[in-house]
Amino acid sequence: MDKETRHIIVTVIGRDEVGIVARIATTMAEANLNIIDINQTILGGEIFAMTLLADRAGSKLSMPEITSRLQESVAEMSLKVTVQDSEVFQYMHRV
């Protein structure tokens, strides 16, 4: 791929527990994924939801590899990690 921007959106949703942000952030740092922005909230008082914008230009990992590493980093927790090119959101939510 020869794109200039390599922004990705990482979404983590599931049961709230101590240490989710730390694990995700550590794994991303190890993969050389630069976090640009981060939002975290608790939906309905119990569901943890984190959305995270990152640059993967410096990372050698493919998208499926990024997804599986992040998912593994929270393997024993009840969480679902999704990684998508940020263009999806640009297209769907901006005219």
């Binding site: 679902k80 959101f89 769907m92």
Partner: protein, 454 residues
């Protein structure tokens, strides 16, 4: 952040829970340069072209789906109508080429390939006759090759002899595939006013006015539309309902356009069109019927269904057209019975009949789709059902289609089971009042008037 959490979570939810997906990335491929009067040579050229041009389709689509996190369910190929490619009046030539196409599709891992197609709205050539003559054999001995026959157009009228001929073809195909409830018929679509850039099977073919090859994308997302309406609550008036459908359609279309352009770019071929059609699957929630239920109808088929479907179909198109300048194909709502859990329930309960479906097809794409009828239905009655559907398309300047299965040995109360995307359907009742004398007249119903439309 560039996007709010709500926006991101909405998209993630649309994909994970509402089954928003790219239903098909279809490679449209011209076969005009493969014509050869020698069947073996023609079969070889067609096979080589499909294998050559389609080689990277699946892997490229999978790579894009992975990166964007949007599932691409099917990778398919649509071909130039075979009647324009095989210059032979011998049915055996068509069987040979069709088997070669089917084998090439299997080799590429493509689940359906379209274009076993003839256009006879005004009359048949000897080549068309050969193609149609071989159709029962082709549909019963190949797995992936889908057929379509154009029987009517607003400019030509309705080829009634063609309706009768195709009625016989359907019955023979059903008999030949009786062991699987007549599944061969699920791969055959009869058209009025077809579009030439449709990415959806079984009716896809790549028209003679198209370029050498292009990427045609079919996006779906009935679940996402239903969710948008559920969020609106039961008290919202229908203007607001239409608005919510438009907004959901906009987002779905944009997702499809992004994926289509990226796949086309990586394959180094043009992006053709995006077809935003609410296409259901048998999976619970992935249903157009359930959208009608969310609008407030107890079941699809209830009085009001035609009005609700008109609004849905229109709002989908409006949202889609604003989202992309490449909208094409059919773009609307599909109401196949066997492929939609809610429609199956309505048919079982007797809430929806063939007659009500026929009315609904006058306001949506596409037509009488995936309907099982008693195997003993007469050839003339089946031809008359086809003719009625052609008339709706013809008079309303729109595409209509018939994909109907006379289930061998089965009657009302029985069910047919195809499995997978094709689903299952209860056998629906057909009128017992005879149309035989009308159908036996044959000939062509002249093209309808295009002015004085009152």
């Amino acid at each position: 952040m560039k996007f709010t959490s709500e926006e991101i979570l909405e998209t993630v939810g649309m994909i994970a829970e509402d089954k928003l997906d790219i239903r098909t990335v279809t490679l449209g491929l011209s076969l005009l340069d493969c014509a050869d009067p020698e069947p073996a040579a023609c079969a070889r050229k067609v096979r080589e072209k499909i294998l050559n041009r389609g080689a990277r389709l699946s892997s490229t689509a999978d790579a894009v789906a992975n990166e964007y996190g949007l599932p691409i369910i099917n990778k398919r190929i649509s071909l130039t109508p075979l009647s324009l490619v095989v210059p032979s009046a011998d049915p055996a030539a068509f069987v040979k080429v069709a088997q070669s196409v089917d084998a090439a599709a299997a080799e590429l891992g493509v689940n359906f390939i379209g274009g076993y197609t003839a256009m006879i709205q005004k009359g048949e050539t000897a080549i068309d006759r050969a193609l149609i003559g071989a159709m029962p054999e082709v549909l019963s001995t190949t797995w992936r090759f889908c057929g379509s026959v154009v029987l009517a157009s607003t400019r030509a009228g309705i080829n009634m002899d063609g309706c009768h001929t195709m009625s016989r073809v359907i019955q023979e195909t059903a008999e030949r595939t009786a062991g699987q409830d007549g599944i061969g018929c699920a791969k055959l679509v009869l058209f009025a006013n077809p579009v030439e850039d449709n990415p959806f099977m079984a009716g896809a073919f790549f028209g003679s006015g198209e370029e050498e090859s292009s990427i045609l994308v079919g996006v779906s997302g009935p679940g996402a539309v239903r969710r948008a309406l559920e969020n609106l609550g039961p008290d919202a008036d229908l203007g607001r309902v239409a608005e919510a459908v438009k907004k959901a359609a906009f987002k779905i279309t944009r997702a499809g356009e992004l994926i289509g352009r990226e796949v086309a770019r990586r394959l180094g071929i043009g992006f053709g069109i995006l077809d935003l059609s609410l296409a259901p699957t048998p999976a619970e929630g992935d249903s157009v019927g359930q959208i009608l239920e969310t609008m407030g109808l107890a079941m699809p088929g209830a009085p009001g269904s035609t009005a609700a479907l008109m609004m849905l179909n229109d709002a989908v198109k409006k949202g889609g057209l604003f989202a992309s300048s490449s909208v094409g194909g059919l773009s609307g709502a599909f109401i196949p019975v066997s492929e939609d859990a809610s429609m199956i329930r309505a048919a079982r309960a007797g809430a929806i009949t063939i007659e009500k479906l026929e009315a609904m097809t006058s306001v949506c794409s596409v037509g009488l789709d995936m309907i099982a009828i008693p195997g003993a239905t007469s050839t003339e009655t089946l031809a008359a059902i086809i003719a009625d559907e052609m008339a709706i398309g013809c008079a309303n300047h729109k595409t209509t289609a018939v994909r109907i299965i006379p289930a061998p040995g089965k009657n009302v109360g029985d069910s047919v089971h195809f499995g997978g995307l094709l689903g299952e359907a209860p056998v629906m009742a057909v009128s017992k009042v005879s149309s035989a004398t009308f159908i036996r007249r044959g000939g062509r119903i002249p093209a309808p008037l295009q002015s004085l439309n009152n």
